[in-house]
């Protein structure tokens, strides 16, 4: 699981690559920690994420809530159709704001 | 066997005497006769059946038809023979008519 962070103006962008499951979740959590504590506008770019396990879904939701609890905004960018289906079936989808393109994501963060 | 009929109307009461048998073949005759009698919108239909030896459910359907055409029509069945009573019971129709031994006095 690879994770790259960068800033574009006031927006934090985190690009994730690979799978987030029970093995990789703790590490992802650690790497996200600093970003989550400071981000007011966050894009989680999931385009290269292949698989989210139950642990991965929970990590995502907890991260999402950490930012929104501090009055920040989070958008999930590029979640694959397959993963969206799984998120829908397991009740996770409705908690998030999703976007298909960078432009949409930027819009959603205003 | 054949069916012969004799009918009359007095005031609100139509009377029809049925002699012989009412079955699939003769039921249409009965129906035509009843239909005629109902033109005067009687409140009562008295069937004299002491000489009726048989009535199939085709005959009962004529009575249903009569009740549909003339809502509120009261039907009397006077002096039915055993087979007629039997048919009335078997088809559940017994309580749908007034079975009497004597001619009812009606207006």
């Amino acid at each position: 699981m690879n994770l790259e962070t960068r800033q574009e103006g006031s927006v934090e962008i985190v690009e994730l690559e690979g799978s987030i499951d029970g093995k990789t979740a703790p590490e992802v959590r650690e790497q996200l920690r600093p970003v989550l504590s400071r981000a007011q506008k966050l894009i989680l770019d999931m385009t290269k994420v292949q698989y989210l396990s139950s642990a991965g879904l929970r990590l995502l939701l907890l991260s999402y809530r950490e930012v929104t609890a501090a009055h920040g905004k989070v958008v999930l960018l590029g979640v694959s159709k397959d993963i969206q289906t799984v998120m829908s079936h397991t009740g996770f989808l409705s908690f998030f704001t999703l976007a298909d393109t960078r432009e949409q994501a930027a819009q959603a963060l205003t | 066997m054949a069916l012969s009929m004799h009918s009359s109307i007095e005031g609100n009461t139509a009377r029809l005497q049925l002699v012989g048998e009412v079955d699939g073949t003769t039921a249409p005759q009965m129906r035509a006769e009843v239909d005629k009698l109902l033109n005067g919108s009687p409140q009562n239909l008295v069937l004299r059946v002491d000489e009726l030896t048989f009535m199939s459910s085709a005959g009962l359907r004529v009575l249903i038809f009569a009740k549909q055409k003339q809502p509120g029509l009261t039907i009397y069945v006077v002096k039915p023979q055993a087979p007629i009573i039997d048919t009335l019971r078997k088809t559940g129709f017994y309580d749908g008519v007034y079975v009497t031994e004597t001619e009812p006095a009606l207006a």
Partner: protein
């Protein structure tokens, strides 16, 4: 690990650190950075925890419970540093092998955790398992955190329920269902609009506890294909939802998926009742496999004969020893778990009479398990419904130990209505009792103790009830010997499918007759999945083994039989709109409110002259709107099961508006049933009910 002073490892085995664990809760629970494993056996001598990496054939490590870890008969330990998404676990128990005394310990077998909340091994429905796997049904850990938001069990008053008995997979497996994941909990969500339009507000699901669909060794006599265990009345794990019924089962997410479905059902006002099978397990008799209970605490979990064989009151090889404290506690823990963690609204107990037998099979007058369930605080708002018989000859409809709480599947209702509509003589007296909610059986309770049904998964579908005189179960490969023989069905003049319009019209009318009586009876009505669209199993009345079109819901029938569906929708709506049909108490047969008519009165072709003679085939009754739980309309129902039309003279009412026709099953759609107040007015004081038809009228109580 933060906070507690006792979460540090004290032992090590092959690189795995562990320590003494917590007795409670039983099962496997994530605690801090470890997993707590706890399991009990009253008769074992020692126990070993066996851990696998998911799907791997050989165990990753086996850790024996040190003697110091035992408390009573409970073995518990915490193991650290496990990837709890990736592990599977089981146990080996050592103890005596002495079947005569009921002891069947076999250390060579790995047994599954009775409290396992997720079971692996059948992740994908019908995927052929690895038959060489020495541990087939593997316990796993569950993520039990779930954001229910505001959801809670609906606590719909039982008298307001209209129950729909459904097989999760069968409901959407057919491609005509047009759902994204056929045959799953997720697909059920997509069909909620259909269910809402139908008007049902409660789903009763056939077993969803983990079972083995491969548990069948018969082959289809024509295709040679292996038959399955499709219905699922053969439990492997009572705490785990079947993975094969989940679209996300292959990812191990069935717990979240089922909870999401339940949340959505509740959001739409629909309750969920589970059909639970505590009468036997999938382990069969002494020749059956060792999956779990047999290798853990055989004599505690199963009713055994003095020689150590298995009593068979279930007809399925073994009988759960429900009133033994060990089994009893497991059952109570299980139901509490489902009620609390899954927000389940009620439970229907298969072959429930077994739950009232003692350890030797003798019926108890005060069975501890049934009493405990009736008064359990967690379950206090759950519906408890008993199939009040078993396969051992105990028939307790009307006498099931109810403690004022249990409802029953009223088999007598089913038999009386089936016989009445097929035209049997002399049923009118019994029908009069059944439409009142069966006070003869439940005089001490009320009509809500009676679950009224005419069809269920056992037996013919409604369409087949009016299309077949005899069962046709040849495809079950038992020479048509299985399935009930006393179906009280009538084929309307031809056996099976026919193009004869007169026969088909009569069949359609009969289906409407059956449903009308059901919806106009006091008690809780239950219909079978697909009856509303004329689902057929081609005369098979025991389709437990067919995972095919034979048992699936064919959604094309929604169009083909749209008239029938429309009738069901409207007659259900009629029931839900009239509180007079949904009483909690029996009728008093008096005019308490000075309405001028009794709360209920019975009639024949003449008012107040019901015909209860032995040849009678028709009956009418009238309900007073004033006598209803809330002010309602007056309702009159005439049921004519003769083969010719009959005139029903209407009873006089002291005051009130004119009668209008709501339902007339002798008329073709759309004149068979009307929206409220849209039907024709009745002129005069007589209605004519067509042959084998029912007429329902309503009138305002005030002019």
């Amino acid at each position: 690990m933060e906070g507690r002073i006792d979460y540090y490892p004290t032992h090590e085995c092959r690189g795995f650190r562990f320590r003494k664990g917590h007795v409670l809760p039983f099962g496997a629970t994530v605690v801090g950075s470890g997993v707590n494993f706890s399991i009990y056996s009253s008769a074992a001598e020692a126990c070993t925890l066996v851990l696998f990496r998911k799907h791997e054939p050989e165990p990753m490590v086996e850790i024996e419970f040190p003697r110091s870890f035992h408390i009573g008969g409970v073995y518990s330990m915490i193991v650290f540093d496990l990837d709890y998404e990736d592990i599977e676990y089981g146990y080996r128990f050592s103890g005596p092998w002495d079947p005569g005394r009921g002891l069947r310990f076999d250390y060579s077998k790995i047994v599954s955790d009775p409290y396992g909340r997720v079971i692996g091994g059948r992740d994908l429905w019908r995927a052929e398992p690895d038959w060489n796997d020495l541990y087939q049904h593997r316990a796993r850990l569950a993520f039990d955190d779930f954001d229910w938001e505001a959801d809670h069990p609906l606590e719909t008053p039982i008298q307001d329920l209209v129950v729909y008995e459904m097989h999760v997979r069968g409901f959407t497996a057919h491609e005509s269902s047009s759902v994204s994941a056929p045959g799953t909990y997720a697909a059920l969500r997509e069909k909620i609009p259909y269910l809402k339009e139908l008007g049902v507000n409660c789903i009763e699901l056939l077993p969803i506890y983990e079972f083995d669909e491969w548990d069948n060794n018969r082959r289809h006599p024509e295709t040679g294909e292996l038959l399955l265990n499709y219905w699922g009345y053969s439990t492997i794990a009572f705490f785990a939802p079947k993975a094969g019924y989940a679209a996300t089962g292959q990812f191990g997410m069935q717990v979240d998926e089922l909870k999401t479905t339940i949340k959505e059902l509740h959001r739409n006002g629909i309750e969920l009742i589970l059909d639970v099978v505590f009468n036997h397990t999938a382990e069969g008799d002494h020749r059956g496999p060792v999956i779990s209970f047999r290798g853990i605490d055989n004599a505690a979990y199963y009713m055994l004969t003095p020689e150590g064989y298995y009593y068979n009151f279930s007809g399925c090889g073994n009988t759960l020893n429900c009133n033994h404290p060990v089994a009893r506690n497991m059952v109570i823990d299980c139901l509490r778990y489902w009620a609390a963690e899954y927000h389940i609204d009620g439970f229907r107990f298969d072959l429930a009479s077994i739950l009232g037998r003692d350890q030797n099979g003798a019926p108890l007058s005060n069975p501890p398990l049934l009493e405990s369930l009736a008064f359990d605080p967690v379950l206090s708002k759950c519906k408890l419904i008993a199939e009040a018989w078993d396969a051992g000859g105990l028939y307790q409809v009307g006498s099931f130990p109810a403690y004022g709480r249990w409802a029953e599947w009223n088999g007598k209702y089913r038999d009386a209505v089936r016989r009445f509509i097929k035209g049997d003589e002399g049923l009118t007296g019994e029908i009069a009792t059944r439409v009142q909610g069966s006070p003869d059986l439940y005089w001490h309770r009320g009509p809500t103790a009676s679950t009224n049904f005419i069809t269920c998964h056992d037996g013919f579908t409604l369409r087949d009830l009016v299309s077949y005189n005899w069962k046709h179960n040849e495809a079950n490969a038992e020479n048509n010997n299985d399935g009930a023989n006393d179906n009280n069905s009538w084929n309307c003049g031809w056996e099976g499918e026919t193009a004869d319009p007169a026969v088909n019209e009569l069949r359609l009318r009969q289906m409407k007759n059956a449903t009308t009586i059901l919806m106009l009876s006091q008690g809780v009505p239950m219909i079978l999945m697909g009856d509303e669209i004329g689902r057929t199993q081609k005369g098979n009345n025991n389709a437990y083994c067919h995972d095919t079109e034979l048992s699936w819901m064919d959604w094309r029938l929604v169009e083909t039989n749209s008239g029938l569906l429309r009738f069901f929708q409207k007659v259900i709506r009629f029931r839900r709109a009239h509180p007079a049909l949904r009483r909690r108490r029996f009728f008093e047969h008096s005019d308490v409110h000075g309405a001028g008519i009794l709360d209920i009165s019975f009639h024949g072709l003449q008012p107040y002259s019901p015909d209860y003679s032995s040849w009678s085939r028709c009956l009418a009754f009238m309900l007073s709107g004033h006598g209803a739980p809330e002010l309602d309309a007056d309702i009159y129902v005439a049921m004519n099961m003769y083969w010719d039309a009959l005139p029903f003279r209407l009873p006089k009412r002291g005051h009130g508006g004119a009668w209008t026709v709501e339902i007339n099953t002798s008329m073709p759609s759309p004149d068979d049933i009307f929206d409220p107040g849209q039907g024709p007015a009745v002129s005069g004081d007589e209605v004519i009910a067509g042959p084998r038809s029912i007429i329902v009228l309503t009138a305002n109580t005030h002019s």
